[in-house]
């Protein structure tokens, strides 16, 4: 181990001797900055009615009514976000309120403060304790064909668009026996 004896403080060189290189305050980008730079932001006072499409990640804290299509990008619904729209995105994180069907090719996260009313079709889902969810969750395998959403809530309020495509499941339970019997645990 090499010892570094404490050096006595050197006197500062005179200012005149300092090289006259102009100091530039250029911020070095952090690792996360390039990502942040590509994230669009819609604030909580913004209201949009219509079709919202984009080719960048989006943070959405306002009110949207219509459709949201981000395909290969991420969408974050902030705590003030109120969405009445069908959503298509790669990844979705919900803190606020969403009424509409969600189709994600990647991952859906429902945070504890969120309310989601609609059907979710995704490869992976994370639901925090406290999140309110009303609808169906369909976990799709990669490259599996999309299943049709049951009821487009926000876009059209007409009847069901899908039904029970699967046949009757084969159960082991005895359906023929009437009456009841008691089993003590």
């Amino acid at each position: 181990m090499s010892m570094n004896p404490i050096q006595p403080a050197q006197p500062a060189p005179p200012a005149a001797a300092a090289p006259s290189v102009p100091v530039q305050h250029k911020e070095t980008p952090k690792a996360s900055d390039p990502y942040k730079a590509d994230v669009g932001h819609i604030g909580k006072s913004v209201q949009i009615k219509g079709e919202l499409t984009g080719s960048e990640d989006l943070y959405l804290d306002g009110e949207i009514e219509g459709t949201i299509d981000l395909r290969d990008h991420s969408l974050i619904i902030g705590p003030n976000g109120k969405i009445k729209a069908g959503i298509t995105a790669r990844d979705l994180v919900v803190h606020g309120r969403v009424e509409g069907n969600v189709a994600a090719t990647g991952r859906v996260e429902l945070r504890k403060s969120c309310t989601l009313i609609g059907d979710v079709s995704t490869q992976r889902i994370v639901i925090e304790d406290g999140a309110f969810f009303k609808g169906a969750i369909d976990i799709r395998e990669k490259d599996a064909p999309k299943t049709e959403a049951r009821k487009p809530i926000a876009v059209a309020s007409s009847g069901m668009s899908s039904g029970s495509s699967s046949g009757v499941a084969s159960y082991n339970a005895s359906s023929g026996s009437q009456g009841s019997f008691l089993d003590n645990k």
Binding site: I127, G167, A169, Y171, S175, K185
Partner: protein, 223 residues
Amino acid sequence: MSSSGNNLMRWLRGADKPHAKAQEGAKTAPRTQRHCIGLGDFIRNLSGTSEKLCVLDLGPTSPTNIKLLTELGARVYNEDILRESQDETYLVKREDGSMQIDPDKFFAENLDYPAGHFDAMLFWDVADYLPEALVKPLVERLQAMLKPKGNLLAFFHTKDAGAESLYSRHHIVQKDMLELEPIPGFRLQRIFNNRHIENLFKDFASRKFFLGRDNIREVLMVR
């Protein structure tokens, strides 16, 4: 039961002190676990098929239930019926001036699924806490939405244990083990005995009862 009879029963159960004790209990009560034979049978029946099943969970959203059921390959539907029933927009004024939930209004916005859509349903103990006017229409609707041979798992309290009869979120932690997370704000409304249950679910093909030591009667019904 008549309205005065209901009031008397509620008074006897101490329901006139609305939810105060139950809420207090729920805030302090820890999560508990209970072994559940009916659930074991229910899950076993779900596991025995390669088809994509549709399962309806009628309790509060439980991430663990969704995880387990989707891992079984099922499409999971969640409708927190009891919470929805607290929505005042479904209330109508009766002739005597009191307010009552209107089943038609309620079902116009809840449980709007085609007949025979579901392979299985988790009803938990919701029926014990629901407003009286909803119980029978709800059971009829569930039966209609369930496929023939579909399973429905329900729990019923066998006695009113007061503040201990807390409404709970049911988390399936193992295939025959539940974790109960107390939820404040709800009070047991009634006690069903075996006869009541058989009458209420009379159109189901079979009913299998499991009586627990913790004052819970599990019933696995097959349509």
